[in-house]
Symmetry: C2
């Protein structure tokens, strides 16, 4: 194991990252035990909770069942190809790690939601926040832990079996990214279609046609809507971040391998392991501050973990004989950039004054839905500028210090404390679900107020998380593309028409996939609408509350629609690099990746931020501004929110996956081109 | 004049293009004389016509007045800089040529519109089509002629004075592009803001608040709305095409100069001159076929001119000793590609069946405005794929035959028959105006039916024209960027972080400018709404039709708002290459141009097509589908149309200008970097 010889930082051993991953997983299980100690609630709550839990479980199992043959084909094709069985093994391990993380996260979240609602009713805000945050933390810890267990374990195994052949090790590890990407594709795109078709469908029939409030238990679609939060915003988001997290490490390892530098190959794993420790500390900080103020507690967690991580990373690099401080500056750039992007996102989507972007969108509702759409799109478009300038800054500074490796390690720096970031991110949907459960089970309005305030806080943190996820995905993808150029040794000159042809082709792909996923949500929502209408028509006494709706049927429809509709975008993501790479060549493929990257990042930011801003503009009106609920202004704001739903929760997030899948597939097939 | 020695194709002399330009201009004046022979109409029509004519004239004069100091600064700065006074002269000539073309086009269109309305009333469809088509043809001929007069004249002058120093000649000619771009910036962006603020403002108050129909003479904003068609869709569009037309020639000349090939330098001018001849033939064909069917007549013109042009170009290159046939294949690629892009645009925006994209958007109106927006955006997004694949194909094929020069000459091939393309394009707004005049002057409904059918045809041709304009602008800009890389001799490697930084920065600029122009329309429309509301409130008897509205005041407001609001996007377009070029460097600037090009083309297509599709979806409902006018479905479709207005007529078209201004400014400052 000569690869580690020069890399002695404190007590770190080659198995370190793997072991830290195991520790993180144990902590996640401990949190699960903690949650389960709290009371589930009255029978009505238990019943609703079980329906959501079961629906989410069925969706994920169905999803994994469809994924399995796809993965088998990938693994076998890879194994029998010149890429070999090591890469094939990595694909399997990558997929398994991501799937396990997502499943545990979803499983725990659907246990935490009922307990949050019950805690809000019985004990108040503080305990409700604790439980929902623990629920989110399990997802966060699972992402970080499973990443370290899977990638860290494979790394040590490959180093042992391949006798320090750097490039072969790096090449085999790339399979891990493919596996993680495949799961992310299904979870995030499928989950995104599920959650929004259920949401839009339930809302359109329930609120508008039947005239019953949101989350009303008579609406057959509400369980599906709540299931959607868990499979889309928790498991889906988790698989998205997992992919970026591992992608950043894999890309850094690949670039380090082309430099034949074993220390730099190990550095990303070391950083991720440190970051998981710091996330655990951060989760503790949030827990200890909950009694003061939820907002303050979450903010402390968001900022303290990266700061501790940076101190830790700086010191350990300073004391490493073979790793220069320059690398630390790149890491610092990435971590600071990630926070900046989050804050910018918050500005555009989280405002609550008349002068804020959100306030202006709400005001434009006074002249009807058209102006709400125009102003929301306008906010979405301008909101891409600052985050992308930050990304450009990260690229410029990180490569100044560390060359192309800098981009990879900056992404690792941004993503190291993913445990806490993801925890804060996933807490929102848990609180949102708790609110839905409170409403459906007829808890008193004070309970709903508590869950609403938690949810609102969660919306802002979710927006920050989305901005962060996009930034991280962009950097991770860029690092993978950089690795691609290093591995293929192609010269991608912008004055080369082949590069331009590829770039134009690549630029269209995010628009194509966005269009397909938006249409998919519309179509699936339409099926949902038909079913809800049918139930209202055919089940006697349903609207009067005397009969139960067939909620399972709605979950079923959303599940099937989602998984059917994600096949086409999935195929585009996986096949486009293969078709262009083998059909045209590596140079065109390189150009395509650059064009797709730019398009994906631009659209992802625009859609996520416009969607978030519309959502909050509607909430802003609902708080009583511009006349509040029931006015024309409110109806106009609802139109914006409905358009924003597939933007922010389906098409937008799909962009992260799309570019990462395209990049990692390209990197894997690079040696064959 | 050794530069022409080896270039003897038939009777062509160095002064050929200039002389052909003069001939074209004479034909334009002849058409003007023809139009003026037709009766203007009754006093009511004359009065309305005069108001529109005057409003348009005032707008353009105000616009040119503001432009003048900007141009003076540009000319002087350039003259005193190392670029020198030849380039400065070219800037002045370029601006003057474009300004003259736009002014004549607008002037004639506002003479043709009243005569079209009167002809529709007195003589029927055939004569109405002739007059409106002649009105549009004047704009088309002016664009082609003034381009040849200006650029052709300067070319001969520089060749004479510079003693065959190719690179200096090419460099001086680039100034022409800067001048043309500056005018386009003001005309297209300012005109776009004018036309849509007037349109949206007049519609929102008139139709929705006051409950009076479109183009009702009681609405103080309708004159401004009709003025907008002339300054935005005719003069603005003309300046846009003028810029691409000359940009393509200038870029080809610049690339040919780096190859030290005088024959290839002259080729674009020769092609453009041939194209103008073919356009004249095409105009004749349309005129002769009008009696059969308007649709057939326009289609004949659209296809015959390019075919004749290609035969002409093929033969003359075949018989030229120093120009290889390979160049012809590149020209062919460009011309065919332009037609393909037009047809694809027609598919996405011009459908009239239930299964067409337009029909599906209309159907989505049954579930409200939100689904109309989602489906329209979805159509807009997917509609970018095919045109961009065509552009990628043009790049691939044209460079295969002719290297980077191929992109330039393909763009020239696409744009050579601009006379007829622009004629068909500009005919639509003339017919639209005629319809408005018919409505305002209370002509009988049969007249309106005639103008409506002409307008509808015009809408489709305008959509084709927009697709064509985007494709041409993209290729022209790409050619200019290619010239930039040849002149600066920078190596723009995608693996170079500086290129990536530039690319990300560049990618944000189209989003920034789109956001600004959309907000500008909203703000300006709001001022318009306030004024219209004030007039309805303060002018006694206005709503009862007993008093005249103060239409001039509304024109004034739109003029000031438009010109004020276009300064920021204009400044971004001109300054961003200067700031990045001198602040970061030529490599970052090259990356920025690539990112901006990709972003501009993607957004331009998406916005133009989504806007066109929404527009036609509303018309589709108005024809009685899904319940027709007055239904909820119609209201939903109107929301889509209102969102589409700034998309297709302001922000979308601004993208063409934006990338061309950025590219030409970069090319001009290239020697200084």
């Amino acid at each position: 194991m000569g690869i580690f010889e020069n890399f002695i930082i404190g007590p770190m051993t080659p198995w370190g990252p793997f072991i830290v991953g195991l520790v993180g997983l144990v902590c996640a299980f401990a949190l699960y035990g903690l949650i389960m100690k709290y009371p589930e609630g009255n029978p009505k709550v238990v019943k609703i909770g079980n329906q959501i839990h079961l629906g989410a479980k069925v969706f994920m199992i169905t999803e994994y069942k469809i994924l399995l043959p796809v993965l088998l084909v990938l693994v076998l094709a890879c194994g029998f190809s010149p890429l070999g069985w090591d890469t094939a093994l990595a694909i399997a391990v990558g997929a398994l790690s991501s799937a396990i993380a997502g499943f545990i996260g979803m499983y725990s979240a659907t246990k935490a939601n009922v307990r949050t609602a019950t805690a809000a009713e019985e004990s108040g805000q503080e305990r409700a926040l604790s439980i929902s945050f623990f629920g989110g933390s399990i997802m966060g810890l699972c992402v970080a832990s499973m990443g370290l267990i899977g990638l860290g374990g494979l790394y040590v195994y490959f180093v042992g079996s391949m006798n320090d052949d750097y490039k072969t090790i790096a090449s085999a590890l790339e399979g891990f990214g493919v596996g993680a990407s495949a799961v992310a594709l299904f979870s995030r795109v499928g989950g995104g279609i599920f959650t929004k078709s259920a949401d839009v469908g339930a809302d359109l029939v329930g609120k508008i046609e039947a005239g019953i409030p949101e989350d009303d238990p008579r609406n057959p679609g509400v369980i599906a809507d709540n299931v959607g939060d868990n499979v889309g915003d928790i498991a889906g988001m988790g698989s998205d971040i997992f992919e970026s997290y591992c992608g950043a490490m894999i890309a850094s390892i690949a670039i380090a391998a082309t430099l034949s530098n074993p220390d730099l190959m190990f550095l990303p794993l070391w950083l991720a392991a440190s970051g998981l420790f710091c996330s655990l500390i951060g989760i503790g900080i949030v827990r200890s501050q909950v009694s003061r103020s939820p907002a303050v507690a979450l903010r402390y967690g968001t900022f303290f973990s990266p700061i501790i991580f940076l101190i830790f990373a700086g010191l350990s690099i300073y004391y490493s004989p073979n790793v220069e401080m320059n690398y630390f500056y790149s890491i610092l750039t990435g971590a600071v950039g990630g926070i900046l992007i989050g804050l910018i996102t918050e500005y555009y989507t989280g405002g609550s004054t008349l002068d804020s972007p959100v306030g202006k969108i709400a005001k434009s509702g006074e002249t009807g839905p058209a102006t709400v759409i125009i102003s929301g799109l306008s906010v979405g478009m301008i909101s891409v500028v600052m985050p992308i300038l930050v990304i450009a800054g990260i690229i410029g500074v990180s490569t100044y210090f560390s060359g192309l490796y800098g981009v990879g390690i900056a992404a690792v720096g941004m993503l190291s404390t993913v445990g806490i970031t993801m925890a804060i991110d996933a807490y929102g949907p848990v609180a949102d679900n708790a609110g839905g459960i409170a409403e459906m089970s007829g808890m008193k309005s004070e309970v709903r107020e508590i869950t609403d305030s938690l949810d609102e806080l969660g919306n802002t943190t979710a927006a920050i998380g989305k901005g962060f996820a996009i930034g991280a995905a962009a950097l991770a993808a860029l690092a993978i593309i950089a690795a691609f150029t290093q591995v293929t040794k192609v010269e991608l000159l912008l004055s080369d028409p082949r590069v331009l042809v590829g770039m134009f082709i690549g630029g269209t792909i995010p628009f194509l996939v966005s269009s397909i996923t938006m249409t998919a949500v519309g179509d699936a929502a339409f099926e949902m609408i038909e079913e809800i209408r049918r139930q209202f028509r055919e089940i006697p006494g349903l609207l009067e509350g005397k009969a139960d709706p067939d909620t399972a049927k709605c979950v079923d429809i959303a599940t099937n629609a989602a998984l059917k509709k994600m096949l086409l975008p999935g195929a585009i993501a996986i096949l486009s690099p293969i078709v262009i790479g083998f059909g045209l060549g590596a140079i065109e493929l390189g150009g395509m990746l650059a064009g797709a990257l730019l398009g994906c990042v631009l659209l992802a930011l625009m859609m996520a931020n416009a969607g978030g801003a519309w959502d909050n503009a509607k909430k802003f009106v609902e708080k009583g501004n511009f006349g509040g609920k029931g006015t024309e202004t409110h109806s106009a704001a609802v139109v914006g929110d409905t358009v924003g739903d597939p933007f922010k929760d389906t098409s937008g997030p799909s962009m992260n996956i799309l570019i990462n899948v395209m990049a990692i597939v390209s990197l894997v097939i690079a040696p064959l081109l």
